[in-house]
Amino acid sequence: MTENTLKDKDGFETMYLNMGPQHPSTHGVLRLGLVLDGEVIIKAEPDIGYLHRGMEKLAESRTYQANIAMSDRFDYVTSMNNNFVTALAVEKLLGVEIPKRAQYLRILMAELNRVVNHILFFGFFAMDLGATTALIFGFREREEALELFESVCGARLTYNYFRVGGVSRDLPAGFIEKAGNFVKMMRSRLKDYDDLVTGNVIFQDRSVGIGRISKEDVLAYSLSGPVMRASGIKYDIRKDDTYSVYREFDFEVPVRENGDCFDRYMMRMLELREALKIIEQVLIKLEPGEILAKVPKIIKPPAGEAYVRTESPKGELALYLVSDGTANPYRLHLRAPSFINLQILQKILTGVKVADVIAILGSIDITLGEVDR
């Protein structure tokens, strides 16, 4: 698109604004080409690929276990969930049975990571709307969760905790108490969050009714996760197409009707509470046992393919894995929720203001590492 080829409704010149790739709140290196009439957007064109690392190609020259280590980098905010889907896909090809304790530990970690992701979302979304303090509060709580992760797997961001057939380490002593305290602390902090941001009249003014996504659009654009549920479609892969042992846990799938920025925000806040609920249940149910199934040292799944879907905090995170019987995957395709959720921007950005672009982009909750892979 060249500059000023589009005219506004009165026939005047428009302004072409390059939002990004270097911009404080495009969550990384996303570029939005905006055609502006004053502050109103006539046309928006997202441009991605600035962070393309060729992970799908890289995966073809790495072993399955190394691929789990690499999956940390898909979406660096929800590493545990990426580990989860990679491990599940390989196990589906291998056809191994996972020990009970490992299953619970996996769910514990995945849900803890969901909490972390939603706290970060809270911080960044509020930050996009100008409330700086919320971001720091979010990071403060995330720190506590990261310390839990650190005590389990020795890393704070790229955990590489899951193994094909189980998990790498058992919980350290005192972890269950610490996690319980974290859940309690998080519950009390959520009240602060609500006071500071959710109830705030300016925040509601900025988010209610902004960037509405209809049910039809959700289906047409294959949106998933909180974005989908905020528009009134009650579909959670953990419940409706369950995997691992999520069936054993009692949790609600929250759903909202309007599909605007505020509902997408509320979805995350509600899901955060549900995730805390699941964590509590796991902590109670944990029993001593094996954490790693018997798998060969060098994993060579039989030739075949599998499409495994999981519910990552950002949406449907799925892996299409093709094996040809060697130690490396033949093809690994990631169905990245951020990538597919981001497509809706082209449609809903027309007619909104520049300030709303940031709100809408923030409410979709993307990680550029996952969008570009």
């Binding site: 991605i48 690929g49 393309h52 060729g54 799908e56 190609k57 589906k92 090809l93 056809g95 289906l219 047409a220 654009y221 294959s222 949106l223 479609i233 579909y235 409706d240 197409d241 030739a303 075949g304 393919e305 599998a306 499409y307 495994v308 879907r309 449907e316 799925a318 299409y320 093709v322 033949y330 093809r331 395709h333 169905r335 990538f339 597919i340 981001l342 497509q343 449609k347 570009d372 892979r373």
Partner: protein, 151 residues
């Protein structure tokens, strides 16, 4: 299996469609191998039958041919179905399903970008992830990267 019903229905309607090697598929979702010219019609039929959610669209290079894989899901009944299309490696062309599922837009562009599959009917088929003017399609198995300034 509920999805099997749709499979048989499609096999009856569109000649040339067949089951895609079931022993290869480990996730238990029935897969359909359909000829490229019928794809758009089949997807249209599937959408009318309630497969309202396109989970994933991706492509794989099998050295002798390219394969495009569509994963569909009907959210109400939770029935899943996989549709596969074999394409010629030299001149891969497949009708775009973007008019039916706008969400296929970027995924088709990605396949175009990384595997060189052409989707006639796509509104704006151009590079997505790779820089403009990149030569070759990295996810093809015979792709070899030319050394650049960083090597």
């Amino acid at each position: 299996m509920d999805a099997q019903k749709y499979l048989n229905e499609i096999k009856g309607r569109f000649p040339g469609t067949a089951d895609a090697a079931p022993e290869r598929i480990k996730d238990g979702v029935p897969a359909l191998l359909c000829p490229a010219p019928f794809l758009f019609e089949i997807v249209k039929y599937l959408k009318a039958e309630g497969f309202n959610y396109l989970m994933d669209l991706c492509a794989t290079d099998y050295r002798d041919s390219l394969e495009v894989i569509y994963h569909f899901c009907a959210l109400e009944t939770n029935v899943k179905l996989t549709v596969k299309v074999r394409l010629d490696r030299e001149k891969p062309e497949l009708a775009s399903i973007t008019p039916l599922y706008p969400g296929a837009d970027w995924q088709e562009r990605e396949a175009f970008d990384l595997l060189g599959i052409n989707f006639p009917g796509h509104p704006d088929l151009k590079n997505l992830l790779l820089p403009c003017g990149w030569e070759g399609h990295p996810l093809r198995k015979d792709y070899s990267r030319k050394p650049d300034q960083y090597d």
